[in-house]
Assembly symmetry: C2
Homo-oligomer: 296 residues x 2
Amino acid sequence: MEYYGAIEAGGTKFVCSVAADPDHYFSEIRFPTTTPQETLAKAVLFFKEQQQKYNLSAIGVSCFGPIDLDKRSPTYGYITTTPKAGWEFTEVTGLLERELGLPVGFDTDVNGAALAEYKWGNPTKVDSLVYYTIGTGVGAGVVIHGQPVHGLVHPEGGHILVRQDKEIDPYSGFCSYHGNCLEGLCCGPSIKERFGVPAQDLPSDHPFWEILAGYIAQACVTQICQISPEKIVLGGGVMEQKQLFPMIHKKVLLMLNNYVKHPMILEHIDQYITPPVLGNRSGACGAIALAQLLQA
Amino acid sequence: MEYYGAIEAGGTKFVCSVAADPDHYFSEIRFPTTTPQETLAKAVLFFKEQQQKYNLSAIGVSCFGPIDLDKRSPTYGYITTTPKAGWEFTEVTGLLERELGLPVGFDTDVNGAALAEYKWGNPTKVDSLVYYTIGTGVGAGVVIHGQPVHGLVHPEGGHILVRQDKEIDPYSGFCSYHGNCLEGLCCGPSIKERFGVPAQDLPSDHPFWEILAGYIAQACVTQICQISPEKIVLGGGVMEQKQLFPMIHKKVLLMLNNYVKHPMILEHIDQYITPPVLGNRSGACGAIALAQLLQA
Ligand SMILES: Nc1ncnc2c1ncn2[C@@H]1O[C@H](COP(=O)(O)OP(=O)(O)O)[C@@H](O)[C@H]1O
Ligand SMILES: Nc1ncnc2c1ncn2[C@@H]1O[C@H](COP(=O)(O)OP(=O)(O)O)[C@@H](O)[C@H]1O
Ligand SMILES: [Zn+2]
Ligand SMILES: [Zn+2]
């Protein structure tokens, strides 16, 4: 059995674990994300201890962003221009490599989650997959031809511009860059700002969920038109509202209006746009998948 | 030298040629797209004659759509649910393979053009590229990790939903499926319907070009957020209006509002969103690239 170190590096908390795959977890530690020095030192200490017991092959880090994924760049493996105070231009992979003497796989949290769903949540063996998180923020990871997509920087699918009908949703949006982009209209905090209660406390039959489903459906339609993914996975805290799924399915069909004629859309959209098969473990599993990718 | 047969299969005309690469063209024939039987027979006849002279290695077809690119499907290599009368469910690759005894590479016209720009219009060696045509229709081809993207069907980037300000552009849209989707608002015929003159006759200082640039900029922003391409190429008849490029550059920067901090966007957007390097030959070259891809 191969052992991997997995770091789910979130803006609120870090989860570090040793695992072979999603079914074989050996130890785990969780701690809040404080300063880069303190937080990364805790991760290093945990893995140094684990290395006494386990012969780790690699570390995978699924990380909040934006991050630098360009191997030719001097800041490869850094968190870059993040709004998280104190974390701008923080070296991550270089530090872990030096301290632990292990290769480090690195990607965005959502690319990690997309890769995990692709590897372990994919019984029908689709070749391309988009993973959205609708949570504190909105992000999208993309796997195409079996690889996470980076491109110029990495996908930032939360910030596409969507149509908003101000008559039914007059809210100005939560995104500090774009106001009413997808994230600005859909993230958990935007719901709290609209209604004064946390998203989880809005009744499941509140009319707002239909409006929200409309924005998320637009995001799905845009992905379908632009890259035609074989599957779309919607995760994150807000998607705990399971009543959203059938609403999104119906609205995607209405918006596409029969233009994309494929049975996965026309007949099986409930299997095409789904919750994460790995549940709320896609993030953690993403880090394992990123470690394994180094050996592929 | 390897010789390839290239078919640019358009809804209006077919262009068949023999070429080794974009700099080595040996013969060409053009004819209008009539019935499938007549049109494909003309193509077969041309290549049978050429096979007397040239030892062709493969045929590439860059084709109007939608087409079936799923190798496991019984209609692989067919034009499928096209609005072009008489062409629904027309077998293309199977027929050419049987008649000419050659392997046939097949993809959408825009994926072909994207691949050609990737192979021959790419001095800086970008790894991912989006190619838009803004012409009679609007389409987008996508190359990622050096391969055209297919996914569930293939990209149909012309049909994303964009924001429209009805105060400045009250037009209802030309798309028979979606009305005011990107294609519905940007295709050449939509301009003719708005102003009563062909797009090429609208003065280059007409205020409409600023409005159009806004829609195309939204399409670019959506691609940047969703797949972060390393380059975006804008071709097709409407993009002959070269004044559109600086307008699009400015609007993309405004819409992104400094969110994606990469020098190609912040400093060199004029090299990031560009006309096709191959000019109006990207389509024809696409067919060569698709033939060559069979041997990669
Ligand atoms: N059951 C729920 N229904 C609706 N919103 C929820 C629910 N649970 C959590 N949320 C919202 O999701 C957000 C947290 O998202 P989550 O994916 O859990 O974490 P993060 O995005 O910070 O990693 C919060 O804004 C919270 O209000
Ligand atoms: N110079 C021009 N300026 C604006 N529009 C143009 C120009 N030339 C052609 N067009 C428009 O582009 C469309 C044709 O697009 P084109 O890319 O040439 O062909 P197609 O999309 O059919 O392959 C027509 O609607 C035409 O009006
Ligand atoms: Zn935003
Ligand atoms: Zn449309």
